[in-house]
């Protein structure tokens, strides 16, 4: 049976999901095609819109007032403030109750797992009590066997940044008889299901055991931060139970992979896609495409289903396959390319021009991606649209380094919103 949609979105990360929701909002029938697990498990789950610009020395306190300073080829300049707001609106609707920050245009400052403070626009509600501009005293708790995070070191580093509150750290043993190298998923699972754990010679439900372990270190702290492993499906209950036992606010500090806030966000996005009637095909890669006789209009993309090549037809297509990490952009010793449509990816022929010698320098590779116009349409080297009915969203778009700017999620939201809307309206 032939697959025929109005809009096909390729890629299931933030950009692809928002693009699909945005297109569905216009009344279009949308299919989202994903290959591998999305890179959200690597992502902190914070939604950064714009944290740093070339012109400003410190963190940006209001992303919207800093937009004017961006170069004209920046995706934000191309799609405009309204697309950023449109993307955020969809995001806020989808994550209602699970995320905070929508009450203001200002950036919030959060503590990262590495101890550095970072500006962000939306943060999981589980992280809300940890804002650095809030002056309540803070205790940061780490677990001795969790090598990724050291609560005492993070507390010292926050103090060194001059935060407007008293902050102390503690490193405690994980309650229960876990091996020293037990994965964080086991701990999160025990808290999620409130499993019985042995603690100080007693058997206690996991949440109570953790609260007991933290209590001796509480001192005068008004809030307690822990690495983001407080449960999975029942994370709100875990946090509420801990708060009840401790009598103070509890917040999570976003971590690297596997990132629970990232995974929880992925669940929210996929629930919203289901609710919006978006069809989802997962597990198979897009490997090619067919065009109409004009060579300019895409008719179908080709999906490889275990060796069988199946065409998926649509009127409009959105490329949201991500950047280098998600393999939406690929490379070999000779060059950089976009593997599905072979869209133009500007890069130097000399691969020794792809990087800066400073590990945190201005890396050209961090800007690799397709150039777009104001309609999110990928452009050829000559500045013409690659295909009349193809748009791009998120990390596959190049030209800026959203990692350095802290604009990665925001670019995904804004371009996802704009690409989805324009694709839907073109039907």
């Amino acid at each position: 049976m032939a697959i025929e949609e109005d809009v096909i979105v390729i890629g299931g990360g933030i950009a692809g999901s928002i693009a699909a929701l945005s297109a569905a909002d216009t009344g279009a029938q949308v299919r989202l095609v994903t290959h591998k697990k999305s890179t959200l498990r690597h992502a902190s789950g914070l939604i950064d819109v714009l944290g740093y610009t070339d012109g400003e020395s410190g963190p940006v306190h209001d992303p919207f007032t800093s937009l004017d300073g961006l170069p004209e080829e920046h995706p934000y300049s191309l799609v405009g403030e309204s697309a950023i707001r449109g993307g955020l609106e969809i995001f806020d609707t989808v994550t209602d109750g699970a995320y905070s920050g929508a009450h203001t245009d200002q950036n919030a400052l959060v503590t990262t797992s590495g101890g550095a403070i970072k500006p962000t626009a939306r943060y999981p509600t589980s992280a809300a009590a940890g804002l650095v501009s809030d002056d309540r005293s803070m205790l940061i708790v780490g677990f001795r066997s969790l090598t990724d995070f050291n609560g005492e070191l993070v507390a010292d580093h926050l103090a060194a940044a001059g935060v407007p509150f008293e902050v102390n750290g503690a490193e405690i043993e994980v309650p229960g008889n876990y091996r020293a190298d037990a994965r964080v998923t086991r701990i999160a699972n025990a808290l999620d299901l409130n499993k019985d754990l042995s603690y100080n010679g007693r058997t206690l439900p996991a949440r109570e055991a953790f609260a007991e372990a933290i209590k001796p270190h509480l001192g005068t702290a008004d809030r307690v931060g822990v690495p983001a492993l407080l449960g999975d499906d029942h994370a709100d209950d875990v946090r509420a139970d801990l708060e009840r036992s401790l009598g103070v606010a509890v917040f999570e500090i976003p971590m690297g992979p596997p990132s629970y806030p990232g995974l929880r966000l992925e669940d929210l996005l996929f629930d919203a896609l289901d609710d919006a009637g978006v069809r989802i095909s997962d597990g198979n890669p897009a490997v090619g495409y067919e065009t109409a006789a004009d060579g300019d209009t895409l008719e179908s993309i080709t999906i490889d289903r275990r060796g069988r090549e199946i065409p998926y037809h649509a009127e409009q297509f959105i490329l949201a396959t991500g950047g280098l990490v998600g393999k939406g952009i690929n490379s070999d010793r000779n060059g950089v390319y976009e593997p599905v449509f072979n869209c133009y990816v500007p890069h130097s022929d000399d691969r020794y021009q792809w990087f800066s010698e400073d590990a945190f320098g201005e890396h050209p590779f961090a800007t690799f991606g397709v150039p777009i116009d104001e309609h999110c349409q990928p452009l050829t080297a000559e500045g013409k649209t690659e295909f009349s009915n193809l748009r791009a969203a998120g990390g596959v778009i190049g030209g800026v380094d959203p990692t350095a700017e802290k604009s990665k999620s925001g670019v995904s939201l804004a371009t996802g919103y704009a690409a989805g809307r324009e694709a839907g309206e073109a039907i």
């Binding site: 950036n107 090598t147 190298d181 690929n330």
Partner: protein, 583 residues
């Protein structure tokens, strides 16, 4: 001990550490100074081949004989640093038959066990060899960890009373009345173990004799003493693969050439190399074509290398030397033999000896000859014991035990830890504390990291070379910060962050030579994790910038869940919330 002459050894590579151990074991007072970490110069930048001597069996039989002799010694005294992989000299159809025969004959003349294998037999050993190879010679080549070996020599020297000062650069050679009487050094921090942010100092160390074991840098030390030492530094590239495409050392069996060896090393393979003379061992170009040549040429032997993932490349500088007037133009023709330069005989400057040239595999023998020479100067009659006494970690360790249970470690982590630590395993791993894994790629646990920190201070590159942490596929993406966490609270917060930054930048130096395909994707993930997730690139503490906290969102009114009446008032719009939410 106080009556024993004091010998100062310059250079913490394999040769310097070997000399320090030998002299200390003979009862001399020894100080070793090294400008960087141990292995900082050439030792830390080689392919890790334990020569059978096969490579020199045609061109330089004297070296070949020394190699097979020392190969046998190191298997005994450095068992925890050696993996006897075996080696193959593989002939392709276009490679000359005469050379193959000469190689075989040469091996036999030098006492190197050598066996001819048919292509089928060779491919049975190494299935990924090219299908069209003609035949191969099997020899006892091996892989050796130069870091572990060097550190073990230094540790042994310390056990015998030597003082080892790393990050202590020689800034002057002290000459009085036509004799060298010591050196002046600049401690980066300290003296003692390197600790970031501790102030450095200078120190004049007087000695009865100075030995310069500085390899490619011998000319610079010579200049300070006022003597000419004409080293001919020659660079070579080594490219590290993400996995072991071969488990045997694979050599190309043809007259000298670039890109003719693959050495399996721990979890990786190392491809080598080039041979290009350079003017300055500290400043030479690291070139793209060299990396490409490794992959393109060696894939003639092992075709899968063409599309395999490389994780980094690095360059080393050979300390080649030839006596003045020899005039060899092609560096590949310069002898690999070593030379002992007695500056008293040679330049009329007493009190100093330089050692130049030579090879890693024969470091112990070089150490023995130098130590004999020094002892002769002081009329000391002491036997060399370095060939008989195992290095720390290589003591008898043949009893099979269940380390997984004993140290609470999962296999293969326990197995790899014990392989690295050898007879030190129990001492290091039995801490009585939880021992989580810090580096997953290389299976390095907290106990090993802490042991290395005890030895070397806050220098995480010194921890790296001792443990292999951050040397695997992810190149430290997931463990550089974990290693820094382990410094705390022994060292404070500013030290831990500075040490992290230094390690992170050091890893990048090699990674950037492997930035395409899978490894570019990996590099982007690393950059994202540290920049987006952790914001290390814009950390206000590290950039020294002040943040106006009042300009940012301080949260909206929220309640502590489930606690009726426990209101944490936080106002909207930038005003700080009332302090103290709970009753």
């Amino acid at each position: 001990m106080t009556d024993a002459p004091h010998v100062l050894v310059i250079g913490g590579g394999s040769t310097g550490c070997g000399i320090a151990r030998d002299l200390a074991m003979r009862g001399l007072e020894v100080t070793l100074v090294e400008k960087g970490n141990l292995t900082h110069g050439t030792t830390g930048r080689m392919h890790g081949l334990l020569h059978s001597g096969g490579r020199y069996a045609v061109s330089d039989q004297a070296s070949a004989k020394e190699c097979i002799e020392e190969n046998r010694v190191l298997r005994e005294i450095a068992s925890h640093c050696v993996e006897m992989t075996g080696g193959l000299f593989v002939q392709r159809p276009e490679d000359p038959d005469e050379y193959f025969e000469e190689k075989l004959e040469g091996c036999r003349e030098c006492g190197i066990p050598a066996e001819v294998l048919s292509p089928e037999e060779a491919r049975e050993m190494e299935p990924y060899l090219a299908k069209d190879i003609k035949r191969a010679i099997k020899v006892p080549d091996g892989a050796i960890d130069p870091f572990r070996l060097c550190v073990a020599n230094a540790a042994s020297a310390q056990e015998h009373g030597a003082r080892i000062e790393t990050h202590a650069e020689v800034i002057d050679v002290l000459v009085e009345d036509g004799a060298v009487v010591g050196v002046e050094i600049k401690h980066d921090t300290g003296p003692g173990k390197r600790v970031h942010r501790e102030p450095g100092s200078t120190e004049k160390i007087h000695a009865d004799h100075v030995v310069s074991a500085t390899g490619a840098w011998a000319g610079k030390i010579g200049d300070m003493a006022g003597v000419d030492v004409e080293v001919r530094p020659s660079k070579g590239v080594m490219t590290i693969m993400n996995t072991r495409q071969v488990d045997t050392v694979v050599n190309r069996c043809r007259p000298k050439g670039d890109a003719d060896i693959v050495v399996p090393h721990e979890t990786t393979c190392i491809l080598g190399t080039t041979d290009i003379e350079v003017d300055d061992p500290d400043d030479y170009p690291e070139e793209e074509w060299e990396v490409d040549m490794m992959i393109d040429t060696l894939s003639e032997l092992v075709p899968m290398l063409a599309n395999a993932r490389t994780i980094r490349s690095f360059w080393g500088v050979r300390p080649l030397y030839e006596p003045p007037g020899t005039g060899t133009t092609d560096p590949t023709n310069i002898t690999r033999d070593f030379f002992l330069l007695d500056h008293e005989d040679r330049d009329g400057l007493s009190g100093m000896t330089s050692i130049v040239g030579g090879k890693f595999t024969t470091y112990r023998m070089m150490g023995e000859k130098i130590s004999d020479h020094v002892c002769e100067k002081f009329d000391i009659d002491a036997e060399c014991r370095t060939a008989d006494e195992p290095l720390p970690g290589s003591h008898d360790f043949s009893i099979l035990r269940d380390y997984m249970d004993e140290f609470g470690l999962r296999s293969p982590i326990g197995r790899r830890s014990v392989e690295r630590l050898g007879s030190r395993a129990e001492e290091v791993l039995k801490t009585g504390e939880p021992n989580p894994v810090v580096c997953e790629c290389e299976a390095v646990t907290r106990a090993e990291i802490q042991d290395a920190i005890d030895q070397s201070g806050s220098d995480l590159n010194a921890v790296r070379i001792r443990t292999r942490a951050s040397m695997g596929n992810c190149q430290g993406a997931f463990c550089c910060h974990r290693m820094a966490h382990e410094l705390y609270p022994t060292y404070d917060e500013p030290v831990a962050y500075e040490a992290f930054d230094e390690l992170f930048q050091e890893r990048w130096k090699g990674e950037r030579h492997a930035l395409w395909g899978e490894q570019l994707s990996q590099a982007m993930l690393k950059y994202s994790l540290h920049s987006t997730t952790m914001n290390a690139d814009h950390d206000a503490v590290r950039t020294g910038s002040a943040i106006d906290f009042s300009k940012f969102d301080s949260g909206q009114t929220t309640a502590v869940a489930g606690t009726a009446g426990t209101e944490t008032a936080a106002t909207d719009g930038g005003l700080p919330p009332a302090n103290g939410g709970d009753q």
